[in-house]
Symmetry: C2
Subunit: 152 residues, 2 copies
Amino acid sequence: MRRVSLSDAKCPVARALDLVGDWWSVLILRDALDGAKRFDDFQSSLPIAPNMLTRRLTSLVEVGLLEKRKYSDRPVRHEYVLTPLGEDFEDVVNAFLAWGNRNLAPEGPTVTLVNRNTLQDAQPILVDELSGKRITSRDYFRRNRAKEATSA
Amino acid sequence: MRRVSLSDAKCPVARALDLVGDWWSVLILRDALDGAKRFDDFQSSLPIAPNMLTRRLTSLVEVGLLEKRKYSDRPVRHEYVLTPLGEDFEDVVNAFLAWGNRNLAPEGPTVTLVNRNTLQDAQPILVDELSGKRITSRDYFRRNRAKEATSA
DNA sequence: CCGTATCCTCCACGATACTG
DNA sequence: CAGTATCGTGGAGGATACGG
């Protein structure tokens, strides 16, 4: 019974983590956002074993974050391109990027999320799509407390 | 040689992932942002074994995302509170939250990142702190291509 | 180049039991 | 309530070799 599945958790964060799978996938998505398409693009960018890369790529295709597309018939060649879902993941990569850059860059921060600059508020904020009002993640969680239960 | 360390990777994304450690940590941080402080708060919110929770909590304290603070002498009781670094992680949780909510919520999306609404641009964008210009993550990576090498 | 096939190791994670 | 101690295991992740 190893590894609890969070895929049917109520919390979108848990569902998201479960779908993505693992750290490698985030890095692969990062590279794809960076323009990587071919096996070797990813391979040369990451210290990952080729079989591991195959597994992660396959998994990302299965969950719909990447699409495996044939770009040559002979020899048969594929490339891995982001689906709309994968493109949309850029927000998450950006958040990691900005956070890591702010806090973990030896040379000091060089980028920031745009709304850190443009808004009075301290941090990026969520918006309730119905009311149009700004909410914090905490508000979100509180609102959904009843329905929420990370448990699988 | 299991589990490659990315802690000294050049890429902030890789460093960030390495520091945080694993999925559980993200969920624990999520709960902390949601107001959880005590062992049992986390325990009751997550389908996680107590020893596992102890390990993750310890790890998060070690890397400076949480602080273990005594709030009672007898009996001795601690609570786990977010450090500034941990507070700052809310951006990342928000991104996961918004992405999961947009794409993985059975009932349809209910929240979004604020700048999706307020900006013309399709997605949240990074800003170069020196030039003040907007860049994409791809720009960021390209700029740092030379120095970059995820390899440990 | 672009992967797949095999094999193996080890530790993350979980179950369970116990304590002040 | 807030953990610690012990133990077992599966599968993530790596090394290596091979193939079209």
